[in-house]
């Protein structure tokens, strides 16, 4: 079968690529577009290391076909910082040591940003259930949850 031609937007930039009909968005990002910040931990949607947003909706890119990106807006970890200015979540993860090996970090950050866009004032329980689809084996989640809560508080304050 011929490859499909996909026109989409990734991190605000217009992008075109060719993909196999069965190719996942994760594979397209990593292999075709060179965006390897999204990680493959399971390829079954269980670990969240490949989290991206599709029109602001949080998805596992391993469960999405690359062809489905046609006409939509994709955002990945690579688009989170603005130039050399880190997103407040990225900065807080660094300050709070909310990462150890770092393999889950891209997905955690993308998922956390999606949460705060939807709910700028989440409870601890809301953070924990929102991030329940993002596995981390190193941290026990403690510092991640604290980092998200603190960033949310600071972002609310900054918005006032």
């Amino acid at each position: 079968m011929a490859k499909l031609h996909v026109t989409t937007s990734v991190n605000g930039e217009p992008v075109e690529f060719l993909c196999e009909p069965y190719e996942t968005m994760l594979d397209a990002l990593r292999a075709q577009l060179g965006l390897t910040g999204s990680k493959e931990g399971c390829s079954s949607g269980d670990c969240g290391a490949c989290s991206i947003t599709l029109d602001d909706r949080l998805v596992c890119s391993c469960l999405m076909l690359a062809a489905e990106a046609e006409g939509h807006e994709i955002r990945t970890i690579e688009g989170m910082a603005k130039g050399d200015k880190l997103h407040p979540l990225q900065q807080k993860f660094l300050e709070q040591a909310a990462l150890q090996c770092g393999i889950c970090t891209s997905g955690m950050l993308v998922a956390s940003e999606a949460l705060l866009k939807k709910n700028p004032d989440p409870t601890e329980e809301e953070v924990r259930f929102w991030l329940a689809g993002n596995l981390c084996r190193c941290t026990g989640y403690d510092k991640i949850v604290r980092a998200v809560m603190e960033t949310a508080a600071e972002m609310r304050e900054a918005a006032q």
Binding site: C47, N134, L135
Partner: protein, 752 residues
Amino acid sequence: MNVVNNKWIGQRTIRPDGVDKVTGRAAFAADTTMPGMIWGKVLRSPHPHARIRSINTAKAEALPGVKAVVTPRDVVDFTIEKGAVMLGIQDMRWMCRNVMAREKALFPGHPVAAVAATTEAIAAEACKLIEVDYEVLPWSIEIDDALKPDAPILHEWNKIDGKPSNIVGKIEVKKGDIAKGFAGADVVVERSFTTRPVHQGYIEPHACLISVAADGKTTIWSSSQGQFMVRAMTSMLTGIPQSDIRAIPAEIGGGFGGKTIVYLEPLATLLAKKSGRPVKMVMTREEVMRATGPTSGSKSTVRVGAKKDGTIVAAHGIFHLQAGAFPGSPIRGAVGCSFAPYDIPHVLSEGFDVCSNRSKVAAYRAPGAPIGAYAVECVLDELAEALKMDPLELRLKNAAKEGTKAAHGPVYPRIGYIETLEVAKSHPHYAAPLGKLQGRGVASGYWFNAGGESSAQVNITEDGNVVVTTGHPDIGGSRAGIANICAELLGIDYRRVSVIIGDTQTVGFSNLTGGSRVLFASSMVVTQATDKVINTLRERAAKIWEIDPEAVKWENGAAHPASPNAGQFEPLTLADLAEKAPSQGGPIGASVQLNTQGAEGGFGTHICDVEVDVDLGIVRVVRYTAVQDVGRAVHPSYVEGQLQGGVAQGIGWALNEEYIYNKDGKVDNPGFLDYRMPVCSDLPMLDCALVEVPNPKHPQGVKGVGEVPLVPVMAAVANAVYNALGRRFYALPMSPPKVSAELDAPTQQAAE
């Protein structure tokens, strides 16, 4: 201790590799590519136990796009008869058979051939075309089955009393005479326990990219806990000399012990050599679960005797651990660590290494120790109850301290175990009220810790900053600790210290990231190298000032006259001296290689509260406090992170994680959906109390901290469940179906 009033040691600095990791730039093994790269795939045995009669690769080789096929014949054979060839704790006879089955396939998932092709899909298709003629054999997986008199034998050469056996190893540690000890006991508690195999659960699957040039020069990018281990094992299994193999450590996405051996690297090297193309191999999650090392399942019996006043007089442990396909289960950890927190006059601790048709175990965080501690610490809980003593009091009464001779050998120097008990006892958590169906448990744990070989280079850049190169992959933030220490010694801002992990051809030999050794050992070599650099800087200043080097001191990042007698000179900063280096003797730097000694063991005491949903059988941990003697918390956040991560893994082990086998002997839950590790909503905040009793044998007082925190957890959770329900569980995991079954059973053995 050469460092007091620290500016950087003990600070929560930003890790050197941090920005790369929060922006997605950090290069993990699977993120690497090369021009001309092709893909490797492994053909794996579908059978738990089968003799391999023949392998025919002709059809696979004929498939368009296939560039190379390798079979067991291509892997260097370490014959069994010639005896052990050890690399660290690994016997290459088993490694060569584990990376690719030789005479027999010993577990479902055991590699039997590998293919490299222009696409992953073609490589996978080619694997299906390889014809393997198997003679399927009977198999056993569980320890009890492998020990039956008529059990299928994995390794016929292994004999006990002249008969082939699956018991492939036995060790014991002994102190005093337990018969004498138990004779003097007023109370004796003996219980048996089982645990299931659990996986390390790193989120990053094994991956590598390997290129072999026409002259044999080999470059390996891979995810491992030791680039030197990768180089040595790949060399031994392929015949390429170590000097021709450059093993580059990619950022590693978790290891926990599971990446201390090779799986893919020798196969990818052979495929790259045969094809002349760079070969990339990445495992699927299913391959990780089926074919890489979980830790042992186990069965243990522990007997402890005490006087009425709580003095423990004797202890006996028997630990059987599943090794999987090849010898090497972590019996040393189970046997050596389980009684180590206590001063007991009579101890016998025996461990048996049992092979069965399951993937070969790999190390998992304090290998063996959590299994032993689970049994011992649960028995101590029952003993405390029988003696009507507080469980922390019982431990305090028998706690090991400076001068105690442990059954496994060492006489302890100044240790902080008693401090952990005291902190736990006075912690608000221990006195907090409990609600309905809630319970509290405590447990302690010990891990040996390790020193060993480390190398480091400290180089001053031309603009007066610092590059530190060490040889240990950084999994949990060790670069941050090294930056703190080097900055402290040089008296400069930590952001001026760049810490990188060198590859095998650019930094001296450094042993694995494992055994909780990295910060202990690497900070020792970095300290010595930095001290050498400081001496050079003092000599340079002395030369410029034309005074004696002894009259120059190094302080706050600059050379100063040591006293007014030395003369009046403006301080020379690191930048000044770097700038003057070309005219004053050349580059400034030092390298140090050591076989580090003095890694003393570590102790922790944990408090766990659970709440049980008796309708659904769900146990939830609602509060947790980990207390640990950490020596010196060079970077407290990453020390706490080690405690929190270990606790989370232990909670998974206690409550949910297990390998489930189907009737065909295959793992039935080889993915994250069914192999249920703790997710964010399963856990509470995990509180830490860091006790700092500096290691007297380390320049900064560092002790290993990474492994101790997994050791006490399962017992702490189990003791809490007992406290909540009045029923004891003697098997892990205490997962909902098992808790429900127990709750539905008639009450009987609670007060046996």
